[in-house]
């Protein structure tokens, strides 16, 4: 049985992701955040539902579009915002920006923008957990486009062969940058594809945070009990442009009508409606939650903007080749 407070927690996670990313979008044109940003607005239910099924010590890997996953797994908010601002207080000290997040305290080993890179690496982390017997389960998030890279199949094969404790989460938002799914893949079923590798696989509604949670909960339990990997695909839609804070329905690769239809399904509004209707949430509590999130977010942005930039000298830290080779050749 799901506790009421757990449902509310998942809703709050979604709301927090939405509010953080709306703030990034609102402030992006100030030109202080100078790294590319890939927003998950519209896709929050997947991050919130999936991550709720994992513990703090489980491992997480993600992609270029990773703010939501980072936050849902418990990644430090000030560290995220400062990273996007390129500050020394950022979660990777301003070295990486939005697409290179990391928070070891909560098992976020890496987010990597090279599409597909994380799939075998996450598989390896899960292999490590199996060999070490540390009871950890790894989750790796990726998009529909990523399933076109060769390493997708290579990783599924390896994970299935070794019966690894890993959950592959495919967020199918129908696009890879500007290219729709049907231009890139035949009408193939990725769930069947994963199943053909001998992996337990299922398709879920990416707008239904509770359904996402329970599918993932099963997958995690199976993985933790030695039952091997799972693959879950969730249908979803990114509301904003592929990269950047704006809407781009006018540039021709997708239609306003399609966007509006998906926006109607807003996973956040839907969950809010359900919780209000069932009495698990009341208007007063909701506005309290929003106010305290707003506070937290504004504090994180203020802190980030006031934080120092990394010093030029950090260019040469964390190297493992002899330093005399690391100066500009004279």
């Amino acid at each position: 049985m799901t506790l009421i407070s757990d449902k509310l927690a998942r809703f709050t996670t979604m709301l927090r992701i939405r509010m953080v990313e709306e703030m990034i979008a609102a402030r992006y044109d100030e030109q202080e955040m100078r790294c590319p940003v890939h927003l998950s607005i519209g896709q929050e239910a997947i991050a919130a539902g999936v991550c709720a099924a994992f513990t703090r010590s489980d491992y997480l890997f993600s992609t270029h579009r990773s703010h939501a996953h980072y936050l849902a797994k418990g990644g430090d908010l000030p560290g995220l915002i400062a990273e996007i601002y390129g500050r020394n207080t950022g979660c990777v000290r301003g070295r990486g920006g939005s697409m290179h997040l990391c928070d070891l305290d909560v098992g976020i080993l890496a987010t990597m923008p090279i599409v597909g890179s994380t799939l075998p690496i996450a598989t390896g982390a899960a292999f490590g957990s199996k060999l070490l017997g540390d009871q950890r389960v790894t989750v790796v998030f990726f998009g529909d486009g990523t399933t076109e890279e060769g390493v997708f199949s290579e990783s599924l094969n390896f994970a299935a062969l070794q019966q690894l404790p890993i959950v592959f989460i495919c967020e199918n938002n129908l696009y890879s940058v500007y290219s729709p799914l049907e231009v890139r893949q035949p009408a193939r079923d990725r769930v069947a594809l994963a199943a053909a590798h001998g992996i337990t696989a299922a398709l879920g509604d990416g707008d239904d945070v509770e359904a996402i949670f329970s599918l993932t909960e099963n997958a995690v339990a199976r993985a933790r009990n030695g039952g091997g990997p799972s693959f879950l695909e969730f249908a979803t839609y990114r509301w904003r442009e592929h990269c950047g804070p704006h809407y781009d329905n006018d540039i021709g690769y997708r239609s306003e009508a399609e966007f509006l239809a998906w926006q109607q399904r807003d996973p956040l509004a839907r969950t809010e409606r359900e919780l209000l209707a069932s009495g698990e949430l009341c208007a007063a509590t909701l506005s309290d939650i929003k106010a305290s999130l707003q506070d937290e977010i504004e504090t994180a942005f203020t802190a980030a903007r006031e934080a120092p930039f990394p010093d030029e000298s950090t260019l040469f830290t964390d190297l493992f080749v002899p330093t005399e080779l690391c100066v500009q050749a004279a």
């Binding site: 301003g94 090279i114 890279e149 290219s179 930039f309 950090t314 040469f316």
Partner: protein
């Protein structure tokens, strides 16, 4: 036509598609959208989906498929969206494309152009800033060109398309919209492997390519007011190396400064320095100097890290001054 580098690439591709039915462009988002820099915008409508192919998100397949098409007698121009994403295709480029002519004893070749935007200084951080030339420089069987000015882009792209062997065509992102110049409308070619003296001088030879040629020229212009006369050679083609132009210049200036954004260690400059050391050591009046990207794994995002990675024209001017005073 009056164009910047993006437009030069676009116009040249357009002419080639019109001229030669065997040319097929393939890559991620090159069709409906017309590439992320809009280089192939509207090509899909004009030439159709048989010639402008939106591919799956699969670099290994993009290049491997292009190699097969080239063996078939087509003239594929494959695009890798950013150079940082080329590595899944490394096997197909290094392991297969580069060996095609050799393996077939010349019975067939691999007329393939791989275009890709590269380079930093654009806040692309760890994974959208890379210079890849040295990683491919080592491979016999590959040609690498990196033009930095519209006229060179057009001439070298035409030459690359006409060439029977695989060519890596590198486009520095920072030069895409840097300068606009008048260039010829005809489909002229510039021979691959021929450097260009972008400024002539007598005190020091600077060898560079890509975005840094622009900065080196700025620095050289500044130094002329100090009575320092710098010759700036734009390699344009990285491999094959134009030894003749470099050595001729050195016989006049007797000093060599090599500037590139890619890492110093094992880089293009190292090979040029080795060539000069073995063929013209006694021409030199000063040690050869390399001013290169630092040997750190990637370009950082924060301002300070990116600035410390990229070499400014002031830093170039300082190095030039020091060399002349040596």
């Amino acid at each position: 036509m009056n164009v910047n580098n993006v437009e030069a690439v676009r116009a040249t591709l357009h002419d080639a598609l019109t001229r030669d039915e065997r040319i097929v462009i393939l890559g991620e988002d090159v069709g409906a959208r017309g590439n992320v820099f809009l280089i192939t915008k509207d090509f899909l409508q004009e030439f159709g989906p048989q010639r402008i192919v939106d591919t799956p998100l699969s670099e290994s397949a993009i290049i491997g498929v292009a190699v097969g098409m080239a063996m078939d007698g087509l003239r594929p121009i494959a695009e890798i969206q950013f150079a940082d994403f080329i590595f899944p295709a490394f096997n197909q480029i290094v392991g297969e494309a580069a060996k095609t002519r050799y393996r077939s004893n010349g019975d067939y070749t691999c007329p393939l152009v791989i275009r890709t935007p590269y380079g930093g200084g654009v806040r692309g951080a760890l994974s959208h800033s890379i210079s890849i030339e040295a990683l491919f420089y080592h491979v016999p069987g590959l040609k690498i060109v990196a033009p930095a000015f519209p006229a060179d882009v057009r001439g070298l792209l035409n030459a690359a398309i006409a060439d029977p062997d695989p060519i890596l065509f590198l486009e520095h992102k920072k030069t895409y919209r840097l300068a606009r110049t008048d260039i010829a409308d005809e489909a002229y070619t510039i021979p691959i492997g021929q450097a260009d003296i972008k400024r002539s001088g007598t005190d020091l030879t600077v060898v560079s390519y890509g975005y840094f040629v622009h900065l080196a020229l700025e620095a050289a212009a500044k130094l002329s007011s100090e009575d320092i006369s710098v010759e700036v050679i734009d390699l344009r083609s990285i491999r094959p190396m134009d030894k003749t132009t470099i050595l001729q210049s050195l016989s006049k200036t007797h000093r060599l400064l090599i500037i590139h954004e890619d890492h110093a260690f094992g880089g293009i400059g190292a090979e040029i320095a080795a060539m000069v050391a073995s063929e013209a050591l006694f021409e030199l009046d000063a040690p050869i100097r390399r001013l290169c990207g630092p040997d750190v794994p990637a370009m950082g995002y924060a301002h300070a890290l990116e600035d410390a990675y990229m070499i400014s024209s002031e830093q170039m001017a300082t190095a030039m001054r020091e060399m002349v005073q040596f």
